[in-house]
Amino acid sequence: MKNKIKKVDLIFEKVDHLSILKKAFERTSDEIILDVIDSGLRGRGGAGFPTGLKWKFAKNEESDQKYVICNADEGEPGTFKDREILTNVPEKVLAGMALCGKAIGATEGYIYLRAEYNFLLGMLNEKIREFNKQMKNMNFEFSVFIRSGSGAYVCGEETALMESMEGHRGEPRNKPPFPTQHGYLAKPTSINNVETLVFALMIANLGPTMFKELGTFDSRGSKVFSISGDTPKAGIYELELGMSLEDFVHEFGDGDTKAVQVGGASGFCVARKHFKDTVIGFEGIPTGGSMMLFNSTRSMYNILKDYLEFFEEESCGQCTPCRVGCQQLLKGVEAVKKGIKPATYLNELQKLSETMKIASKCGLGQSVGNPFNSIVNNFREEIIY
């Protein structure tokens, strides 16, 4: 466990993205992929799948057409780092997509942009036009296109996102087959988070070693955090992974932090007594970037209720455990609060959340139990009384 908060500047650092690409295009796909594997980079969108492996799977598929998708749906409550990345270094995102295209053998890339970020469309389209021209000038066959979401959280889930791009209702698909085999328009597709793509570009630029030296064995490198809640320093920070939550709170808390919600609404709530032994990273609690701090003025019941209302509405509704489970958890805690159901009913709900976790079709339903159990376990009295 690292003991200090270390700020890093890989994502927002201005670089000459074209010369990085030029260098990369002289290498083979395998060399590019090997570097990404070697760096230990894992997806920054939440699930943390090793990026190099994903690219390798997509590369190994035989197909007349493959696609790169940049997941810019950024719907997780409390996450706003992709917006900043797209605003400040859009060229790096585009270059990361082209790099992925080179690695897996795709000639088209799509950005799936969260509907609420449509104000960025004008600027992004401008950048894309320029970038596509540059790719042509470099004799590299790759064009980027952009698609707007329609405001559903579930469309950030990779297969729902592809359904949405294909003009269908955003419902997650069955897996397998995985997107690297059967993705957008049934073609092999590598879908990566905005931040992941920029890190991949920086690994191509600086080599895997510098990245590997940051972070821990399981959580290499740094990560852009979206810090919000009861903090005097709300905002975007790129920090080395593997810090303890205690150090984090020391740096960002307001002196009265009672809990931190790590990973947004679908993440875990850590109470003060566990700050010390909680690592922020894949070996501890992973996060897509969201860190919400709560001080003692906050009611954890209200926070839980808020999250459950979010999930009750944002579940795509197709699968039973998630659609009905979310409603039951919400109605259940309300009933306990009002005394309509006994406190022991929380145990039934916790059992139910376990079913939701293992039987739901996609990551949304599977993770509702995270906030639910961590808040109920840590703040049971606040829920009941």
Binding site: R169, G317, Q318, T320, V324, Q328, K331, T355, I358
Partner: protein, 596 residues
């Protein structure tokens, strides 16, 4: 090509199956039953209800067995602690959303949700009831289909049916989360949307969210009314399916028992739609020959290919989606709607009844027939031609309610005048049947010889392929049909509206030069109709089709133009095919409808 084998263990028992087999199928091979709700053999995989989850050793999450192909070395548990708990939870959750008034429900005893709750003995569940009073409204706008969202488990079987089998997409998923529902375009009533009333969604709905609009009580009312003379007609496909309501194998021929049951129910006369099926062949066959003559001899711009018009779901589909082809539809009414006006004119006179006191009831494998009977054009007799339409399933219920032990009934025959039929009328029930019946008669009328197929069985137009094509060379014709000498008559047959759409798109693009096209809205034709016994699968429909062809082979007469009652009808009443009376009673026209 031999497929790769995959070895796995299910509940510790080794099994070797073809690559691509799902875990569910593999488990069934070992006789382990895994419950399912959203799964249906006719439909693509959804994997959304989650009751089929199983445990894979070493995996963190459970796996939907219907949606997951086997892989080498996999170890599956279908009834572990985790699986049992999850499954029970899932059923309980569904019940909290469900209007579980089972004892009062139309599908009581025929509901898949009820069955699985029964297996798991879900007594009083722990969770909170989510169904609200305002959710308990039924959409009864359609004369054919009732939609009840309070019974819906959101498995989307109807949505997949409507989109993939029928290419209609009248039903779709709307909203998300707790508000997610199956709805229509802009939430309009079922009667105001593109729904064809085919009822295929009903056949695949696991609960009572989609059912037929039932007219059982109205029919009993008129039967009990001594002032009414109630005649009943039975469609071809009902006789090989009604047995399923009484535990018999699909395809069992129970025509005689069905007739006996109808008499015991109190119908005054039991007559047969097969009769008007034969009549349809005469009218429609002549219409085809007339169109061909007009095209080939008179050089007129007539609408070809001619398309059959027996299937009211198909008619409404055309009216909505291909209104520019309405002239191609045969102007013949369907056999049901030919029967109605003949019953209230020709027949009424013969049996000396006042048509105002007559009630015509039909037993149909179809829900669209309920809609068809309500069409304002269908009043050729001056009265509503067909008063009530019941599905095969509703007839089954009536027989049970009346305490009739169906399986023990002795066979009885149809009453006369509109009761005689040939094998050609019977095969209307299966896809390709109308075409085969038409060819048997038309070929013989034109050449004076029987169709050149062994035992009259025109095999190329039979079978379950989505779109079938065939060609018959017409040779050595009678002098009056000289213009057809050497013509190769090209025909096509589609069943299921998605197949019909594929065929229509070819016609529209000018890539098809058929003379005659048969379309049945339902997969496999009327034997797979939306009013037939539930469940339906390809296997069941194949058995019903076999029953139909078996019935045909057992008939004394097998060509429509040889039906003695039809011959008599022309002699005494209609005088000639496509004549004045036919025009008034047996032919109709169609109206373009909007897409939404």
């Amino acid at each position: 090509m031999s497929k790769f084998k995959v070895n796995l263990k299910i509940n510790n028992i080794p099994v070797s199956v073809d690559e691509g087999t799902t875990i569910l199928e593999a488990a069934r091979k070992l006789n382990f039953n895994i419950p399912t709700l959203c799964h249906h053999d006719d439909l693509c995989v959804a994997g959304n209800c989650r009751v089929c989850v199983v445990e894979q050793k070493g995996a963190r999450l459970l796996t939907a067995s219907c949606a997951t192909p086997v892989s080498e070395g996999m170890e599956i548990l279908t009834n572990s602690m985790k699986v049992r708990q999850a499954r029970k939870h899932i059923v309980e959750l569904l019940l909290t959303e469900h209007n579980a008034d089972c004892t009062k429900c139309f599908k009581n005893g025929h509901c898949e949700l009820q069955e699985i709750s029964n297996e798991y003995r879900i007594g009083d569940h722990v969770f909170i009831d989510l169904l609200q009073e305002k959710d308990r409204v039924q959409d009864i706008s359609s004369p054919a289909i009732v939609k009840d969202d309070s019974k819906c488990i959101r498995c989307q079987r109807c949505v997949r049916t409507c989109a993939h089998l029928q290419a209609v997409s009248a039903l779709a998923v709307t909203h998300k989360g707790n508000k997610m529902r199956i709805s229509t375009f802009l939430d309009k009533p079922m009667n105001d949307v593109i729904c064809t009333n085919c009822g295929q969604c009903i056949n695949r709905c696991p609960t009572a969210a989609l059912t037929e609009r039932s007219y059982i009580d109205q029919v009993f009312d008129v039967i009990y009314d001594p002032s009414k003379f109630v005649v009943v007609q039975t469609a071809p496909a009902t006789r090989v399916a009604i047995g399923e309501e009484f535990g018999l194998e699909p395809g069992t021929r129970v025509t005689g028992k069905m007739v006996a049951a109808l008499r015991r129910l109190g119908f005054d006369k039991v007559l047969d739609t097969d009769f008007t099926a034969d009549l349809t062949i005469i009218e429609e066959g002549n219409e085809l020959l007339r169109r061909l003559k007009e095209a080939l001899v008179d050089g007129k711009d007539v609408a070809l290919p001619m398309m059959t018009s027996c299937s009211p779901g198909w008619i409404k589909f055309q009216e909505h989606l291909y209104p520019e082809f309405l002239d191609n539809l045969s102007t013949c009414k369907s056999p049901q709607q030919m029967f109605g006006p003949l019953a209230k004119t020709y027949y009424a006179e013969k049996v000396n009844k006042n048509p105002a006191d007559m009630i015509v009831v039909s037993i149909m494998p179809c829900t669209a027939k309920k809609f068809e009977a309500e069409r304002p054009e269908m009043r050729g007799s001056g009265y509503k031609d067909v008063d009530f339409v019941l599905t095969t399933r509703e007839l089954g219920m009536m027989i049970k309610q009346a305490g009739i032990d169906f399986n023990k009934l002795e066979n009885e025959g149809y009453d006369s005048i509109l009761g005689d039929s040939t094998g050609a009328g019977v095969i209307f029930g299966a896809t390709g049947g109308v075409m085969e019946a038409a060819l048997r008669s038309a070929y013989e009328i034109v050449t004076g010889r029987e169709v050149p197929f062994s035992n009259l069985n025109i095999k190329p137009v039979r079978g379950m392929e989505g779109v079938k094509e065939a060609a018959i060379k017409i040779k050595d014709v009678k002098p009056e049909w000289k213009f057809l000498e050497g013509v190769e008559l090209k025909v096509a047959i589609a069943h299921g509206l998605a197949n019909a759409k594929a065929l229509m798109d070819r016609v529209k693009e000018g890539k098809a030069d058929f003379h005659f096209i048969e379309v049945m809205a339902c997969p496999s034709g009327c034997i797979g109709g939306g009013g037939q016994p539930i469940p339906t699968t390809m296997e069941i429909r194949k058995k019903r089709a076999a029953g139909i062809y078996d019935e045909d082979e057992h008939m004394a007469l097998r060509k429509s133009h040889e039906n003695p009652e039809v011959i008599e009808l022309y002699e005494k009443f209609l005088h000639e095919p496509l004549g004045h009376r036919s025009h008034d009673l047996l032919h109709t026209h169609y109206y373009p409808r909007k897409r939404h």
